[in-house]
């Protein structure tokens, strides 16, 4: 634990074109560490979905990635509106995204389900009006 590697990213809430910078950065860093490409693919997709969610719903946020001995931990934190019904949000196809978001190809209601699909553990902690923290783990 003491020599765990960690990376921190601020996710810009203003722009869809810059969304993905954090996940691209993580992908590059993990590749340099020689981590299995399939693990990298899972981590970077889960993180990108989280980044997009923070841009769509929360005006940005922060991402912290830690490489532990047996897993990669991703913690996404925002001070957005929070998720009122987490079970509903986890359903494939359920989305509260607006039409302009859908026109970009997002808002299909697959973001959170994909984050769950590609990670081994996922925990959502959300308070309406305060924000959301999502913790995900991908084991080696």
């Amino acid at each position: 634990m003491s020599d765990a590697l960690s990376f921190h990213y601020d996710v810009d809430g203003e722009s869809f074109s810059s969304a993905g910078q954090a996940s691209a950065g993580v992908k590059k860093n993990l590749r340099q560490l020689g981590i299995d490409p399939e693990i990298i693919r899972k981590v970077s997709i889960a993180m990108y979905e989280g980044e997009i969610n923070m841009v769509i719903h929360a005006g940005g946020g922060e991402a912290d990635i830690t490489v532990e001995d047996n897993c990669i931990v991703i913690v996404l934190t925002d001070r957005g509106p929070g998720i009122a019904d987490i079970d509903k949000a986890m359903e494939e196809g359920y989305s509260t995204a607006r039409d302009n978001i859908r026109a970009l190809g997002f808002g299909a209601g697959m973001g959170l389900p994909n984050m769950k699909r590609y990670t081994d553990e996922m925990n959502i902690s959300s308070v309406v009006g305060e924000g959301t923290t999502i913790t995900m783990k991908v084991f080696f």
């Binding site: 869809f16 074109s17 969304a19 993905g20 996940s23 691209a24 992908k27 490409p37 399939e38 693919r41 970077s44 997709i45 990108y48 979905e49 997009i52 970009l104 190809g105 997002f106 299909a108 209601g109 697959m110 973001g111 389900p113 994909n114 699909r117």
Partner: protein, 108 residues
């Protein structure tokens, strides 16, 4: 078949080929980005009509072999430059997604 071999076929045109020798292993067609991230497999050719910059990010993270822009879609310069910089192969075709799928079905 490699991406550059596919780009040589009549109905395809190269937009960016930073990893031209990448092998294509199957294909996926879709325009909803999260569906693509959830369903496309690494090494697939991804057929889409979307050409916003997020397509490059999705192709990179999902590790597809290439993006094939269907229906004669022409990407802007930022799209092409970003694809080149992020090692994302991009082709385009005047054909609709269904017809591109048929071609891939016969050549892959």
């Amino acid at each position: 078949m490699t991406v550059s071999e596919l780009a040589q076929l009549d109905d395809f045109e190269a937009v960016a080929l930073p990893e031209a020798d990448r092998e294509i292993d199957g294909a996926y067609s879709g325009d909803l980005l999260s569906w693509v991230m959830g369903r496309a497999r690494a090494g697939n050719a991804w057929i889409t009509i979307m050409s916003n910059i997020n397509v490059v990010a999705v192709a990179s993270l999902a590790d597809t072999a290439c993006v094939i822009l269907a229906e004669g879609v022409i990407p802007d310069e930022e799209f092409t430059a970003t694809a080149q910089a992020r090692q994302v192969n991009v082709l385009r075709s005047g054909k609709p997604a269904y017809e591109i799928s048929l071609i891939l079905g016969s050549v892959l």
